[in-house]
Symmetry: C2
Subunit: 96 residues, 2 copies
């Protein structure tokens, strides 16, 4: 069973979404609890614009989702799958 081309591309895109330190920090933060953009920016030491750009990519990959509340948007992980992937990667890093 060789991997078909589309799946290979999607898989690379998925891992690509987690391949940046700032996005890892964002995911790491969102594992603990949902958070709005400006708090994320403060917590991750990034500009709000940079955070927003990264969130967009994560949203497009369906790794996170936003919940609008007034003029704020609270982001959280899209599903447990993402958390598992992240934790498995972390495990590899720790015991690798």
């Amino acid at each position: 069973m060789t991997l078909n081309e589309l799946k290979a591309i999607q898989l690379a895109e998925l891992f690509s979404a987690l391949s940046d330190v700032n996005r890892v920090r964002i995911i790491s933060t969102l594992i603990e609890k949902e958070m709005n953009v400006s708090d994320l920016a403060e917590k991750t030491q990034m500009s709000e614009s940079a955070v927003s750009h990264q969130l967009r990519g994560l949203r497009q990959m369906r790794l996170i989702r936003g919940r609008k509340s007034g003029r704020q948007v609270f982001y959280s992980l899209d599903d447990d799958h993402v958390k598992k992937l992240y934790l498995m990667g972390l495990d590899h890093v720790k015991h690798g």
Copy 2:
């Protein structure tokens, strides 16, 4: 428990190693069986040089390891962890 800086970087590097279509194809191939560079090149439709460069990165990230036999080097996944990570990603892509 906030992720420390080093872990965040390592984690991003790990996912980064899997974030390219050609590397995904290589890993996908190596999940089935170990393979030498030129066969990998043929199977993945890449030049041997390109394969070798990619293998280097995967080796450095300890995702694969090489077994030298004469003038050939047979590559295989470094441990089961990698396979799990790959399969979990694939699962996300399939059912996402």
